[in-house]
Structures are given as structure tokens and as C-alpha cells.
């Protein structure tokens, strides 16, 4: 399994902690920003004031660490899309599966808890 928490709630403390990383990911809705980010990811992280941990999580595409550092999936998903990754890929990352396994789990009715 992975080290992901069960749930990630974007409460006000997380929103504050993840402010820079969410702002960076949110900026990728602008095509020019996508281009600038791709040209020099590290410099882009610095321009957005990411902490060293946040920068590492972005550069290494550590999707779980991003959430632990206050990111919201709606923001980090824009980075995933830039990488050509699907929500099923991310679902797999959080649950220790491949994207194909995760997709199959969804097609068989989704994952059940409790």
C-alpha cells in the first residue's frame, strides 16, 4: 500500500500551508504558464515561493507528498494533465495500483469501504 492518508480535507490550515503549491498548479490553466513551467520547472517553483519540500514534491511528481503539504487534487490535477496523466493514474498512485488496475476496479463498480 501507499502512505496516503484516507482522506485529504482542504481545511483552512491546509489551504494556508499549501498556498504556494496550489497557486503554482492553478497557474497552469494559462497556456503561457504551462510553457514557462515546462521550460524550467525549478525556476518556476522558486518564482512561486514553494518550500524545499513542496519543490521536491513537484519536481519528482510525488503526488502523495503534494497532498501532505497542503495541495488540493483539483490543483495538482492540472499538473498531471500537463504530464499526460489521467485521474486513473493518480488514483492508482494513491492506492498502490497501476492506472489499468485502478480503471478496472472502477469498471467493476468502484472501491468499497466500511
Amino acid at each position: 500500500m501507499t502512505k496516503a492518508q484516507d482522506n485529504y480535507l482542504l481545511d483552512l490550515a491546509a489551504s494556508r500551508r499549501g498556498y504556494a503549491i496550489n497557486r503554482l498548479c492553478g497557474s497552469l490553466k494559462d497556456p503561457e504558464n504551462r510553457h514557462r513551467f515546462s521550460e524550467d520547472e525549478a525556476a518556476y517553483c522558486d518564482a512561486y515561493g514553494l518550500s524545499p519540500e513542496q519543490k521536491r514534491a513537484i519536481l519528482e511528481r510525488d503526488w502523495t507528498a503534494m497532498l501532505d503539504l497542503g495541495a488540493s487534487i483539483f490543483y495538482t490535477f492540472k499538473l498531471a494533465v500537463l504530464d499526460g496523466k489521467s485521474m486513473q493514474h493518480l488514483g492508482g498512485v494513491f492506492t498502490g495500483m497501476s492506472a489499468e488496475e485502478f480503471t478496472a476496479a472502477m469498471r467493476s463498480g468502484g472501491r468499497r469501504f466500511g
Binding site: 496550489n22 492553478g26 483539483f74 486513473q88 485502478f102 472502477m106 472501491r111
Partner: protein, 283 residues
């Protein structure tokens, strides 16, 4: 006076829009979902509203974390389709109904709802996918004007389900007091159960979904009594979007009849549903 003619509850998953945009609706993955929409679409095509009041949430597109309103209403003359990071959907821009918007804001603020107003708002899949569910082939223009009603469902604490239901009731009163002979449809969007992130990613709770799909018609108070923590536990972190269905339900009168519903798993990582209610008007 304006009247509410129907209410539509529908998921607003981006990939439902993408399936339409990329002509995949008859692929095996998508066909069951779109087949399920057919009876509702045929009925709605025969009952066209002048204005759609669409209750939805933005997903990091028009609203960022700098300023997060709990409830917002668009008051503009038109709304562009957002680029969410992969280019805007190839659908028409959304035409507003600013007089109705202004009337709603005035009535709601006087009624004790602390509404934020938008004069610029790029509408994302949360609003355009429900429009496409209603009208798959709009051509050059959507067949109705739109009043966007935004609910914060992303940042905790979200408004309570009870507050959403109360907002819906106030919206219903406000629509019915608008002094123009308009036919209005109300959309409640989002859901059903899904969780995108964390170890519970992929969560689907079809028992909860089916209970909700039933109770939204005749027992909305039961759903309004659930806490945000219960929504998150039962329906997933993003399943809390279902509180937006309660805004729609609150706006309808007590005399409604179910025209059609459908439920399908999966659409992307989500349980997708549609429920269409005709509003028979107040007794």
C-alpha cells in the same frame, strides 16, 4: 411572474463532457451512461426553459484559494468557457440573465443569505457539462440563458447541507417573485459518490447513492440533516458535491413528479447519475 418548470440533478464529471466533445458516446465505456440520459433529454427538449439556474462548483478555474466564497451568483451578461488546463471545451459561450441574477441577489441578501457576486466568471465543466447533459448539440448557442450559482464544496468547511437546502428554498421564492413571464429550470450538479485523492480514492458507495437518489424527491429534509462529515465519510471527499442537489430540490415546490432517473458506475472515478423532476407548481 416567473415559474420553475423542472429541476435536473446531474453529475458534472469532466469526462462526460469530453466523451461528447470527442464523439465517444457510443463507445462501450460510455454508451450505458448516455443511453440512460435519453428519456430525460427527450422530455427536456419538449419542455424548454428560458433560463437555467445552474448550481455548481468551480474547480480551481475561476475561483482560486485567494478568495473563496461560500455562495456566489453570476451577474454578468455572458460567461466565457474556461480553459481548465487542457484548452476550453468546444461549446458556445454562456449567455447570462443579468436581470434575473440581480433580482435573485437582492432577494437573497434581504433574506439573510450572504451572497458573493461575480461580474467576471469563466465557467468550467461544473456548469458546461450539465448544459451538455441537457442539450448535447447546442450548435452556435445554448438554448437558454443561464444564472450560475456557485457553492464552495472544495474548501472545508463547506456550507451545511441544511444551509444549502434553505438557500434553495429562498432561490425558489425569489424566482417565483420575478416579475417576468419566464420559464425557469434549476440544475443541481455534482456527485454522486467519489473520492479522487488519498487511500480511499475510487470509493463508490452505491447504497448511499441509491438512498440519496430516492430521498431527494420526497425526503430532502433527511438529506439536509446529514453533516458534512457524514457526506465525506459516506460519499467521499468529493461526493459532498451532493449538497448542491439540495439547493435545486429546495427551489422546487413540494409538488414534483419524477420524470426519469438513471445511475451508472463509473464515469471516470465517479458514480454518475441523473434525476429529472417536473415541478407541478405550488398547490
Amino acid at each position: 411572474m416567473a415559474e420553475i418548470i423542472w429541476g435536473l440533478a446531474t453529475s458534472h464529471v469532466p469526462s462526460i463532457g469530453a466523451a461528447m466533445d470527442h464523439h465517444k458516446t457510443t463507445d462501450p465505456y460510455w454508451k450505458p451512461l448516455f443511453d440512460g440520459y435519453e428519456p430525460a433529454r427527450a422530455w427536456m427538449a419538449a419542455h424548454r426553459p428560458d433560463v437555467a439556474v445552474i448550481v455548481y462548483n468551480d474547480h480551481a478555474n475561476a475561483v482560486d484559494l485567494d478568495l473563496v466564497p461560500t455562495f456566489g451568483i453570476g451577474a454578468a451578461g455572458s460567461y466565457d468557457v474556461a480553459d481548465e488546463g487542457w484548452g476550453p471545451r468546444p461549446v458556445p459561450p454562456v449567455v447570462g440573465a443579468p436581470e434575473l441574477s440581480a433580482h435573485l441577489v437582492g432577494e437573497l441578501v434581504d433574506d439573510g443569505f450572504d451572497i458573493a457576486t461575480f461580474h467576471r466568471l469563466d465557467v468550467d465543466h461544473g456548469l458546461t457539462v450539465p448544459l451538455s447533459v441537457y442539450c448535447p448539440d447546442p450548435g452556435e448557442a445554448w438554448p437558454c440563458a443561464v444564472v450560475p450559482v456557485l457553492v464552495n464544496v472544495i474548501q472545508y468547511p463547506q456550507p451545511t447541507a441544511a444551509r444549502c437546502h434553505a438557500l434553495g428554498k429562498a432561490i425558489g421564492r425569489a424566482i417565483r417573485s420575478f416579475p417576468q413571464d419566464l420559464k425557469v429550470a434549476v440544475f443541481g450538479t455534482g456527485g454522486m459518490s467519489h473520492q479522487l485523492a488519498g487511500a480511499r480514492a475510487g470509493l463508490i458507495n452505491s447504497e448511499f447513492d441509491r438512498m440519496f437518489l430516492q430521498a431527494i424527491e420526497s425526503e430532502p429534509e433527511k438529506l439536509a440533516a446529514l453533516t458534512r462529515e457524514e457526506y465525506i465519510r459516506e460519499a467521499g471527499t468529493e461526493g459532498i458535491e451532493l449538497i448542491m442537489w439540495l439547493v435545486m430540490r429546495g427551489a422546487l415546490s413540494d409538488r414534483i413528479t419524477r420524470v426519469h432517473d438513471t445511475y451508472h458506475v463509473p464515469a471516470s472515478n465517479t458514480a454518475a447519475a441523473l434525476a429529472l423532476f417536473e415541478d407541478l407548481g405550488e398547490a
